[in-house]
């Protein structure tokens, strides 16, 4: 998957988890949880979705790397080249 596709996928997953939030103005370089209402259990939903859809396991030590949209794409891109 290319970077843009990964970005779209993450936004789609987040939309499923927080369906009341408006994601159209989500800034890529600002912490996601500072922009919309998402708690730690919601964040784990993202981790779970990556595992379910793509068999990607994100170790707990890497959770911080998924704090912004930009950093999430950067983290996942090398893991998703064959997907």
């Amino acid at each position: 998957m290319k970077a843009e596709e990964i970005r779209s996928m993450i936004l789609e997953v987040i939309h499923e988890i927080v369906p009341d939030e408006d994601l159209s103005n989500l800034k890529g370089d600002v912490r996601i949880r500072d922009q919309i209402e998402m708690d730690s259990m919601d964040f784990l939903d993202i981790i779970m979705e990556l595992r379910k859809r793509y068999s990607i396991t994100v170790p707990e030590d890497d959770y911080m790397k998924l704090s912004t949209l930009d950093s999430s794409v950067a983290y996942l891109e090398p893991l998703m080249t064959d997907i």
Partner: protein
């Protein structure tokens, strides 16, 4: 000085397969309108069930709906409706003095079955088991979700009482008010049971699941051809207050809880015991300080199992004999068995009788079983009577739990 030992109902919120508020519910009851249909389940395919169609987004956001449980959603809807109906302003009452007491038959089955169904697709890999499982399946979840949604910080818990649980929720609310632990009780019961498959499968294998070509005719208490239970969801939450508080704010009073009792058969996991049911009703009458002949309406438990209906009729005959003024009806014939909600829901469906003097009927009695031919059993058509002052509601459950609740028309 106002008597603080009297507890009244001042608000009602409900959802049933045939109505989403008391007006709709009562209209359906008087019109003989069932709400039972069919739903798809995991592994069982299509089954007959009573399902509610209230709008869950009326009081919840989509995220809350996703995070919580169906029972929680039903509880949130009913709680808000009850508070609105009571004309209390939640923003201005002390939320730490509101208690939430909800009867449930079971909780956690829906979530657990759903999760197992989900991870089956992934070869039972538990790394994909939902991290939401535990907060969704703790038994207090339905009541807890109401606190998350409303900001109520008083006590909340559920009462596990099988199919007697709805009455137990009301009894608990009353008792906590009498103790002075809370000033308002949101009390009643909820059910999400049709969303399991296991309950259907178990009832079926037990020979207790109703079947009929027409789902609306499947629940047939007291009918000769009854063949079991229709599993349904629903909820009913009542605002209960001490009389003094209700009068001070000029609240509308639906009725006063004047008697109640709970006891155990100590007999069988599933089979009922008429003697203990009779004892339960007698205990409730004693608590109310009245005699059997004072009861104007008995709303039966009547789940339409061959043995259950027979036992209850035997118990009623023992306590009420041939009372000429005691009328008897049944609500499960319309909506099926709403499990944890049943006690509360079936009781409130009769409360308008205090004003309109109509006893709603029991539907689907095409051929009355002679063993259930109680005097003044109201079947197929509503019955107009001269007055209704006392209503007794029976709810009995597995493991032999019995409950009876008596509500009196309010008169100062």
């Amino acid at each position: 000085m106002v008597d603080e030992t009297r507890i009244v109902l001042t608000g009602i919120g409900l959802t049933a397969p045939n109505g989403n508020n008391l007006t709709e519910f009562r209209q359906s009851l008087l019109a003989g309108k069932s709400g039972v249909g069919k739903i798809e389940t995991h592994y069982m395919g299509e089954v007959i069930a009573g399902v509610c169609d209230f709008d869950p987004l009326k009081y919840q956001r989509k995220k809350e709906l996703r995070r919580g449980t169906r029972a929680g959603s039903i509880a949130i809807y009913c709680a808000h409706e009850a508070i609105a109906d009571s004309k209390l302003d939640l923003a201005s009452v002390d939320k730490s003095r509101i208690g939430i007491y909800l009867g449930i038959t079971e909780h956690g089955n829906v979530e657990t079955e759903h999760e197992i169904y989900n991870i089956k697709q992934f070869d039972y890999n538990v790394e994909l088991w939902s991290h939401h499982h535990n907060p969704r399946t703790v038994a207090n979840a339905p009541a807890g979700e109401v606190t998350l949604n409303t900001g109520i910080t008083g006590p909340h818990y559920t009462l596990g009482g099988a199919c007697a649980a709805g009455n137990l929720g009301l009894i608990q609310g009353l008792q906590m008010l009498l103790l002075g632990d809370v000033d308002l009780a949101l009390a009643g019961g909820v059910s999400e049971t049709p969303h399991t498959f296991g309950v259907f499968a178990a009832f079926k294998n037990e020979g207790a699941l109703a079947s009929h070509p027409d789902p609306q005719k499947a629940s047939r208490p007291f009918d000769r051809d009854r063949n079991g239970i229709v599993v349904s969801e629903g909820g009913c939450i009542c605002v209960l207050e001490r009389l003094g508080d209700a009068l001070e704010r000029d609240a509308r009073i639906y009725g006063e809880i004047v008697g109640y009792a709970t006891n155990s058969d100590a007999f069988d996991f599933i089979l009922p015991n008429a003697q203990r049911q009779a004892e339960c009703m007698n205990l409730a009458l004693k608590k109310a300080g009245i005699s059997a002949s004072d009861i104007d309406i008995i709303n039966t438990h009547g789940t339409a199992t061959p043995e259950g209906d027979k036992a209850e009729c035997q118990a009623i005959r023992e306590v009420f004999g041939n009372n000429s003024n005691t009328y008897i009806n049944n609500t499960k014939s319309y909506i099926g068995h709403t499990m944890g909600a049943a006690g509360a829901l079936e009781l409130v469906g009769n409360l308008p009788s205090f004003e309109d003097h109509i006893v709603h009927q029991t539907i689907n009695v095409d051929n009355l079983d002679p063993e259930c031919a109680l005097k003044n059993l109201v079947i197929n058509e509503p019955k107009k009577v001269d007055k209704v002052d006392y209503i007794l509601n029976n709810s009995f459950g597995m493991l032999g739990i019995n409950s009876a609740l008596i509500v009196r028309r309010f008169a100062e």
